[in-house]
């Protein structure tokens, strides 16, 4: 009864796959026959993903410290990606977009002739880079006033396989006020969860910020009545700095725990960068992080 997933060709050989709330933009490079084989497998897989997630949706909307075990492979990945943050409130849904992207990218990665691929699920991106391959990724701080603010060159050796962006302007609710938090991590699911948590941490109390209980804005939200940001007005520079420093502290913690490889935080005209994106901060990271990166 439900409309099927749709598949549309985009300019530049990319494809747009959509099913319900899932929107993927996919680009793949490599041996043509291998790419075609991988596309066929990935498309078959994609058509089943939403139904699998829906089957355990109530569980996935439960705070992760109360979740024992999920069944589906994507659902298990969501739980695994969010559990490291369980000291604070988080549900597996915080990693849904990245986990779906990772599932599809994994199929391209499994095909030997595919050199590189990206699967962009509404800003949460899973990468596949065969040995020796690289990719340039542009960062846009504010999708509502788009400009290419920075570019990151990722290579297969660097270990980055996930790039995720979160912020109050995005499709998901945020407890924080960041225009955007972009995270580089070893996987898209990890990047997604971490970006959500860092963006939540970019916060400050100020009258220019309007908030509303999540469940007054959207039905069935996993955030319940938690206050989410609906508008950030004229926020003075010092308030922005406080908010960003809080986010930076969270990012620093996750970097030291090896959960992320780098992050860039943007609010109004201010930036904070850390880890692989931050230059000097990499020196202060733990040896574990450096090895992993």
């Amino acid at each position: 009864m439900n409309p099927a997933a749709t598949r549309t060709a985009l300019a530049g050989g990319r494809e747009h796959w959509q099913h319900g709330p899932i929107d993927l933009v996919i680009a793949v490079d490599g041996d043509a026959a291998a790419v075609a084989r991988a596309y066929a497998r990935a498309w078959t897989r994609f058509q089943g993903v939403l139904d699998e997630l829906v089957a355990e949706l109530p569980l996935l909307r439960t705070r992760v410290d109360q979740v024992s075990a999920a069944r589906g492979v994507v659902a298990r990945r969501m739980v695994a990606a969010t559990r490291p943050f369980a000291a604070e409130f988080i549900t597996p849904m915080a990693a849904v977009a990245g986990s779906v992207a990772q599932e599809i990218a994994g199929i391209f990665a499994a095909e030997a002739g595919v050199r590189k691929a990206y699967v962009n699920n509404g800003g949460d991106i899973a990468l596949h880079l065969a040995a020796g391959e690289g990719m340039a990724i542009g960062l846009v701080a504010n999708a509502h006033a788009p400009a290419l603010d920075a570019q990151v060159q990722v290579s297969s050796a660097g270990g980055i396989r996930g790039v995720a962006t979160s912020g109050w302007r995005g499709r998901s609710f945020s407890l924080g006020v960041a225009d955007s938090v972009t995270v580089l991590a070893h996987s898209a699911s990890a990047a997604d969860a971490a970006a959500t948590m860092i963006a939540n941490a970019v916060n400050v109390q100020h009258p220019a910020i309007a908030r509303a209980p999540a469940d007054t804005l959207k039905d069935d939200t996993d955030l319940g009545s938690r206050l989410v940001t609906v508008e950030v007005g004229e926020l003075p520079a010092d308030a922005c700095a406080i908010a960003l420093d809080r986010g930076y502290a969270a990012a620093n913690l996750y970097l030291r725990r090896g959960l992320i490889i780098g992050a860039a935080l943007a609010l109004k005209n201010q930036w904070r960068t850390i880890g692989r994106l931050g230059g000097p901060d990499l020196e202060q990271a733990s040896p574990l992080t450096r090895l992993a990166a």
Binding site: M1, N2, P3, T8, A9, L10, A11, R14, H16, Q18, H19, G20, P21, D23, V25, L50, D51, V54, L57, N120, G122, A143, H144, A145, P146, R171, L217, K218, D219, D220
Partner: protein, 515 residues
């Protein structure tokens, strides 16, 4: 877009306010089955509960002048890709400086409709164009009286004229009069939308929406071919994509290329389902003093060198059913033909060709084609345009939707006929038919992607914009109190900007194309 209920193929009407508390509805557009409270959208942000009705809330689409303006990338999908909704964004007034607003045109795509309420259109926006205040009334029309005319560039036989055209088992239109180099279909229309069974209406509606949205549609002609048609794409006939339109009929091909063949062959037979041409018998061959070759072909002779019905219609050479060109030979006249006579057979697209030399017994011997002959065969191919499907939308905009423009609708009709008010569909120029009403015809390839929606009546939803000078809008009894600047109209709106199709004139300051 407007009130797109669930899925036309299932026809599931929204279970408005059923079992879920007074104001909640269940969205069945995807497996998530969101419970949506009145006034909110579901998890996808594509469907919302507006007034208890499940409604597709696509962003408003704006076109931007493409000429000479540096393109600002607005996101992944802006441009020719179909997924502009991925880059929809909330308007922020600071993004729309006055100079920029002049280069933007709000299309009816995503504008929503007022149907069936008699109230001002969703957007009545003012812009300055070359120093003159102009007004564009933007709406989405709900069309029961509407159809698509599909031009399929092929001479292949796709089925008899008047034959029913089926989609998913339902009759959705018919084959209409063939045109030059093309087969024509007339699809959709009020009798299939609402005059037949419920399923016929749903299938017709889905087919029409897909055609308008430039998606491929599978059709089957009763007693004819299976087709896949999509606007701007090559037609696929019985599984084979068509490549080229013919350069002309067989006789025309002879006429065009006769002098180029003269010194290299003794006879040319251009195989074509309509008229097969024979060079030395043809007026063109006589004119360049070619000697009769004595090769007689089958079929009915029309005039010298022009033959009807040399074979049956089919998917072989030149729209016939032949795959062996010698099968159309009736006989070789021994008194006229001679050993060593050089014969070229070629189709009207140059896709099929064969070269023979007659031996001592005047039998055809297949021989490699000499380069000068091959050159002319290739030239036939070069002169054939790519075969395309062209999809034209026809709809009557002369009804109640005019009430969203003016309190005195006849003044709008007259204003268009008098070339004062321009009519566009998604920013694309609309041809306005002569005679009564405002019957518009527009090439869907010129419209933004995904311009068409539907309501479960079923009926088709299409964007319509009326643009005129502010003073002319006042003169026709317009809703002057509802006129607002573009920037203000976009406040708080989800919208997406697409480049104006380069072949379209800028809708503001252009006259309508009136028949």
């Amino acid at each position: 877009m407007t009130t797109t209920h669930a899925d036309p193929t299932t026809g599931i009407e929204p279970a408005a306010a059923e079992k879920n508390g007074a104001a909640k509805i269940v969205c069945n557009a995807c497996p998530v089955l969101c419970n949506i409270t009145l006034g909110r959208s579901g998890a996808c942000d594509r469907y919302a509960n507006l007034g208890g009705v499940l409604t597709r809330v696509d962003p408003l689409v704006l076109t931007r002048k493409s000429a000479g303006r540096e393109q600002v990338p607005l996101g992944e999908a802006i441009g020719q890709g179909g997924a502009w909704d991925a880059s929809a964004k909330e308007a922020r007034p600071d993004e729309l400086a006055a100079d920029q607003a002049e280069d933007l045109f709000i299309t009816g795509v995503g504008a929503t409709t007022t149907y069936p309420d008699y109230k001002p259109a969703p957007f009545i926006v003012s812009t300055r164009h070359e120093g003159v205040d102009t007004v564009t009334v933007v709406t989405e029309g709900v069309f029961s009286y509407c159809s698509f005319k599909v031009k399929i560039d092929t001479d292949r036989y796709i089925g008899p004229e008047q034959a029913p055209v089926r989609c998913d088992g339902e009759v959705v239109g018919h084959v209409t009069t063939a045109e030059y180099g093309s087969q024509m279909l007339s699809l959709g229309g009020v009798h299939h939308l609402t005059g037949g069974s419920k399923r016929e209406g749903r299938v017709t509606c889905q087919m029409m929406m897909d055609l308008g949205n430039k998606k491929p549609v599978e059709l089957e002609i009763e007693g004819g071919a299976k087709l896949v048609v999509a606007a701007g794409k090559a037609p696929v006939i019985n599984g084979a994509p068509e490549k080229r339109m013919r350069v002309g009929c067989g006789s025309a091909t002879i006429g065009i290329f006769a002098p180029q063949w003269k010194d290299h062959v003794d006879e040319v037979i251009v195989v074509d389902d309509h008229i097969t041409g024979v060079l030395t018998e043809h007026q063109a061959g006589k004119y360049i003093e070619m000697k009769p070759a004595g090769i007689r072909i089958k079929g009915k002779r029309s005039t010298p060198g022009r033959y009807f019905q040399v074979a049956n219609p089919g998917l072989g050479w030149g729209g016939t059913d032949i795959t062996d060109p010698l099968s159309i030979i009736d006989k070789v006249d021994e008194k006229t033909a001679w050993p060593g006579l050089r014969v070229l057979f070629v189709s009207t697209t140059g896709e099929d060709s064969a070269y023979f030399v007659l031996d001592k017994e005047l039998k055809f011997v297949s021989t490699p084609m000499p380069a000068p002959v091959q050159k002319v065969v290739d030239r036939i191919g070069e002169n054939c345009e790519p075969a395309l499907c062209t999809v034209l939308f026809l709809g009557g905009a002369g009804g109640s939707l005019r009430a969203g423009v003016t309190e005195n609708p006849i003044l709008l009709t007259r204003s268009i006929k008098n070339l004062i008010t321009n009519v566009t569909c998604g920013g694309a120029p609309a041809y306005v038919w002569p005679g009564g009403g405002i019957m518009v015809m527009v090439d869907v390839s010129r419209m933004p992607d995904n311009s068409f929606g539907y309501v479960p009546t079923p009926a088709i939803v299409a964007p319509v914009e009326f643009t005129m000078k502010l003073e002319d809008y006042a003169a026709l009894g317009g809703y002057m109190g509802s006129v607002i600047p573009v920037g203000a109209a976009l406040q708080g709106q989800k919208y997406a900007v697409v480049e104006q199709a380069p072949q379209n004139p800028w809708p503001i300051g252009s006259q309508p194309v009136v028949g």
